[in-house]
Amino acid sequence: MLTLANVDAVYGGVIQVLRSANLEVRDGQMVALLGANGAGKTTTLKAISGLLHADHGSVTVGRIVLDGQDITHADPSDIVKAGVVQVLEGRKVLEHLTVHQNLMVGAHLRRDRAAVKSDLERVCDYFPALPELLNRTAGYLSGGEMQMVLIGRAIMARPRLLILDEPSMGLAPILTQQLFDTIARIKKEEGLTVLMVEQNARAAIERCDYGYIMERGRIVLHGSRQSLEGNQDVQEFYLGMGAGDERVSYRDIKHYRRRKRWLG
């Protein structure tokens, strides 16, 4: 469905963030993109959804292809029309609009009123807490409620590929579990393909079909869920587990990571 081939991305004309990134998302897959802070995950997502320009960034080398169509330099609105919708990180609800208006903004490109209405009902079914919040001002919701609005708003656009940037950021573990369960349900029932960046590596790997791991702008490791779960590096660096399945302290991991970087 989506292919990134040798993509380089640069901010402000000088700061190179992505170096020859290759990534493939197949129809119906849940793909996880993992890595430390500053690895280039969000940049990769923004390159796909055409949002790099807003941050004075651009793709300088390589191609991004969606279903055979080159979208490397396409306008964000055309990319949304082609069925790719990104949920930005950091709870970007439209603060001063109501929840209902937020959801309807998601459907602003659609003319089929009846279908929009039934989609709204389905979104309320996925997130049973939403119907009561519809008339509330979105900026005053709790973090978990905002995340529901954001994912609901993205679904209102009827995407084929849903891109999620750290959906669990700042949520309690129990909420994170629920959110991931709901995402899995939505993916199944809507027939969606999902590409997700997540700091919560364990939860993401458990649920993905395929995963990519980034470091300093490069994809350093990729594989199916089983192969990632079994990989010792992934266990040590991202799941925080030592060889004997006991937890390694954060300091040790940091030390490891630093050593790994120095040794190249």
Binding site: S49, G50, L51, A54, H56, D75, P76, S77, I79, V80, K81, V85, Q86, V87, L88, K92, L94, E95, H96, L97, Q101, M104, V105, G106, H108, L109, R111, G139, Y140, R153, A157
Partner: protein, 299 residues
């Protein structure tokens, strides 16, 4: 007592028309985050365009029926608003607030010069689109032109509110008003939304010109109404369509009271000064106005 009520009525009607001009500020500010300093000049330009298609055309021997003249004015306003956005403010997207402020000052002077170049400096009589006269309501006299303007302001406010909360285009503009990056991520064309906002702002300003000037004198000095409406827009809240007419009411009534009771004591300075006193007070006490968007900070 009758005199006081009469003053209140007049103040309220004039205030609602200020509100109409303030709405044109608000529509533009919401989408582009630009306070158009030249909005008064835009209003005068709209008035001159209307004059061109009515009296001007008649003077040249091509009298146009009024609906045709209004339609042509509307089309010219759309083109005018779009041109300002396209040529002055779009290239400045992403620039600092100071750059945009200076561009606003430059636009103000440029439009003044252009208007003088095209239509000359002499004042002329504005076309009388609205009926002049006064309605007698018991002991009170109500200016029909201002009454029509006030009713129009209230109807337009409601219509714009529905537009921004229900329609697809309106929701797009509302998303752009909140945050450009989020709007982008939802597939909203931010540029298009800003262009639409400028066109709307220009058309609303011209409608205000019709109400203010119908049957009276049209000259470049009328542009000062822009600076009179700016405190109204600030008091109502720069993002709030519905705040504008309400703030207009407040400022209009205070201005009328000042003009009746304070002006005789201050050589007529009080009423002219009042809107700006309000502006400074608003900026000091409540910079987001009565209904403007306060940045929601969650801890």
């Amino acid at each position: 007592m009758i005199e006081l009520v009469q003053i209140l009525i007049e103040g309220a009607l004039v205030g609602l028309v200020y509100g109409l001009v303030a709405i044109s500020f608000v529509v533009i500010y919401r989408a582009s985050k630009i306070i158009n300093l030249a909005q008064g000049e835009v209003l005068v330009f709209g008035a001159f365009l209307l004059w061109t298609f009515t009296e001007g055309a008649a003077g040249m021997g091509y009298p146009l029926p009024l609906p045709v003249a209004i339609a042509l004015t509307l089309a010219a306003c759309v083109a005018f608003g779009w041109t300002i956005e396209r040529s002055v403010f779009r290239p400045l997207i992403g620039q600092s607030g100071f750059t945009i402020f200076m561009a606003g000052v430059a636009l103000l002077i440029l439009l003044r010069g252009l208007a003088q170049l095209i239509w000359g400096a002499q004042s002329r009589s504005a076309p009388a689109i609205l009926p002049e006269g006064a309605l007698e309501l018991g002991p009170f006299l109500v200016n029909t032109r201002l009454l029509i303007g006030a009713v129009f302001t209230i109807v337009l406010t409601q219509a714009l509110h529905v537009f921004f909360t229900r329609s697809r285009l309106g929701l797009r503009l509302a998303a752009v008003a909140e945050d450009h990056t989020t709007a982008h991520s939802l597939g909203v064309s931010v540029r298009q939304a800003i262009a639409v906002a400028w066109i709307m702002g220009t058309v609303v300003a011209t409608a205000a010109a019709v109400v203010l000037l119908s049957g009276s004198i049209l000259s470049l000095e009328v542009a000062v109404i822009g600076f009179k409406a700016l405190p109204v827009a600030l008091l109502g809240g720069l993002e709030s369509i519905r705040g504008a007419p309400l703030a207009g009411l407040i400022i209009g009534i205070f201005e009328a009271l000042a003009s009746a009771y304070l002006d005789p004591l201050t050589n007529g300075a009080a009423s002219g000064l009042l809107p700006y006193v309000v502006m400074v007070a608003v900026l000091l006490i409540r910079p987001y106005g009565l209904f403007g968007w306060r940045k929601i900070e969650r801890l």
